[in-house]
């Protein structure tokens, strides 16, 4: 396609419309980004003038900082367990809801509500009380004759599981996206498969799943990026404990910056996180050709 020249009038109109966003982008993203890259190569505690230390901060993270590895491990487990569990569960529920039953709207709303309030402190408060000492889980297990010595949140083996469970509980938004995608699969595909005598699970594997791959891909990217940002749960419910077993990466970044005032180092940690998320995104985009099914002729 040959390029048409831009009209001056369009340029002016475009930039006028874009200007509020552009202003915010420059002030809250672009400038901070360069400042952050610069600080990541300095020693800076908010009070001193930043002194240039080269790649020391990055070297320090990878060679001298065990807590960094712990936070990395916790966050990786969190993302790699939560995202598949949440998506599988969301798809499962969406499949069940995708039939004509009465009261679907009500169920959809019930399942979606945890997603909209999930980020609130109130929910973290509830989770802390349910799985903590004297909590509901404690009492319920006692009721069926199991005495726990330490609560789920106090136990380093189960604490992260509780946080992940809270994430799975918020499967509603993925479910809604799956529901709308399921509605768009042409019914004719199932009809002709039925004529050929396909079993339900065959239809699921050969029709539903391939047709859903673009949606799964979209969900996967969003959820992975979101997963790496986990902070509130980790901060409010357990404060990273016990023994750093729920120390999320962003919580560690926060502590480095605002507890230890180790701003330079915190910025370096931030850019390591960007690199990790970037690698995940690039790998997903590169491999999508082999598993994401786009219909021919679709944009």
């Amino acid at each position: 396609m040959k390029k048409k020249p831009f009209k001056k009038k369009d340029n002016i109109a475009g930039y006028l419309m874009l200007s509020p966003w552009l202003f915010g982008f420059v002030l809250m993203w672009l400038i901070p980004m360069f400042i952050s890259i610069y600080y990541s190569f300095t020693d800076f505690n908010l009070l001193n003038t930043p002194s240039f230390v080269g790649v020391d901060n990055y070297v320090r993270a990878f060679t001298q900082d065990d807590t960094f590895y712990q936070a990395l491990k916790v966050t990786f487990i969190y993302v790699l367990v939560l995202v598949p569990c949440r998506l599988a569960f969301a798809l499962f529920v969406a499949m069940i809801l995708n039939k004509n039953h009465k009261g679907l709207g009500l169920y959809r709303t019930l399942y979606y509500i945890p997603s909209i309030i999930g980020g609130s402190i109130a929910v973290s408060v509830v989770w802390k009380q349910i799985f903590g000492n004297q909590g509901v889980a404690f009492a319920l297990l006692k009721l069926i004759g199991i005495e726990q010595e330490i609560s789920f949140l106090g136990n380093t083996k189960t604490s992260l599981g509780v946080i992940i469970l809270m994430g799975v509980w918020q499967f509603g938004s993925s479910m809604l996206i799956f529901l709308s995608a399921l509605k768009q699969i042409p019914q004719s595909l199932y009809e002709s498969a039925m004529v050929d005598g396909a079993k339900p699970w065959q239809m699921f594997l050969k029709i539903t799943l391939p047709q859903l791959t673009p949606t799964i891909f979209f969900n996967l990217i969003l959820q992975i990026i979101n997963g790496f940002r986990v902070f509130t749960e980790s901060y409010v419910i357990t404060d990273g404990g016990p023994l750093d077993s729920t120390l999320s990466y962003v919580l560690y970044m926060y502590r480095r910056a605002f507890t230890y005032f180790d701003m330079g180092y915190s910025c370096a940690l931030a850019w390591i996180l960007v690199a990790i998320v970037g690698v995940f995104t690039v790998v997903l985009f590169k491999t999508q050709g082999s598993w994401v099914h786009y219909e021919a002729g679709r944009e």
């Binding site: 400042i35 909209i116 509830v126 995608a181």
Partner: protein, 283 residues
């Protein structure tokens, strides 16, 4: 007859399963509401029960509203409302203008800027928080409500993305017809397009509302004066057993803190489903 019976049985099984799951999903919420009615003394005796043994709702809510550190809870609530409403309006308006520009106007570097929007979606916002803090400090805005509003006011990448998708589903002939009739760009946007894209505007407003209302990270870093705290920060103070040892008040105010989101959601949920569903058609 037997086919009919089988269908009936299937339907009954479906409803039993769906209700059971619904109960599990909503139990934590019900538990929170029930606990906010229980007296502090009996709170942990029957903690899993949803029916209070000893009711003490009035005392819990009254003590919760009294606030913490001499600051009544309504101050926090008011702060949150101001920040959320102003932030939401700015966020949605800015996103709408940007989405209109990206999908309807051909201008220089338009695609490059859209790439930047997508990039901001990929980078976790927390990465920017140290430099943002320093910039806001230089501008003397740290510990002001402006600091809480500013990062939201300039639009959200996800909202721009949502609205661009929605705009693309609307035939361009619509604007062209309006322009032939002598409508300017701004008039076309507000008179012709806004009514058509209103489901996506409402969807975006819901998202923006509950993001800003629940935001904890930025207030935690930007704010230090208790009287300027938002609800999440206040609840975080209630959680500290050293400064506040009153579970009834904590649970009561937790209920109050999610009430606006639930109300907002119930009023607009019909549009939310439309907004996402329509978006799905393109995606």
């Amino acid at each position: 007859m037997s086919v009919y019976k089988k269908k009936k049985l299937n339907s009954v099984l479906f409803h039993i399963g769906a209700c059971a799951l619904g109960f599990i999903m909503i139990y934590p919420l019900l538990w929170l509401v029930a606990s906010s009615f229980k007296s502090n003394e009996t709170m942990f005796l029957d903690c899993y029960s949803l029916i209070p043994q000893v009711w003490d709702a009035a005392k819990n809510y009254a003590s919760g509203f009294e606030g913490i550190g001499g600051v009544p809870f309504m101050t926090f609530f008011g702060n949150s409302m101001i920040v959320t409403v102003v932030g939401m309006v700015g966020c949605v308006a800015t996103s709408l203008f940007a989405a209109y520009a990206f999908s309807r106007i051909r201008f220089k570097f338009g695609n490059f800027w859209f790439g930047c929007v997508m990039m901001t979606m990929m980078i976790p916002a927390q990465v920017m928080v140290v430099p943002q803090y320093i910039i806001l400090k230089k501008l003397n805005l740290i510990d002001t409500r402006v600091a809480l509003i500013l990062p939201w006011f300039f639009g959200g990448a996800f909202l721009i993305f949502l609205m661009v998708q929605f705009f693309q589903g609307i035939p361009k002939e619509l604007d062209e017809a309006a322009e032939i009739d002598g409508c300017g760009r701004v008039a076309t946007l507000f008179r012709i397009l806004v009514p058509v894209v209103s489901p996506s505007i409402i969807t975006s407003s819901i998202f923006a509302f509950y993001w800003i209302w629940q935001d904890f990270f930025q207030p935690l870093i930007f704010m230090s004066t208790t009287t300027k705290f938002t609800v999440p920060l206040a609840l975080n103070m209630y959680l500290d057993p050293n400064s506040y040892n009153n579970y009834g008040g904590l649970f009561a105010m937790s209920v109050i803190s999610i009430l606006p989101i639930i109300i907002f959601f119930i009023i607009f949920q019909r549009y939310l489903v439309d907004g996402i569903a329509m978006d799905g058609i393109k995606g």
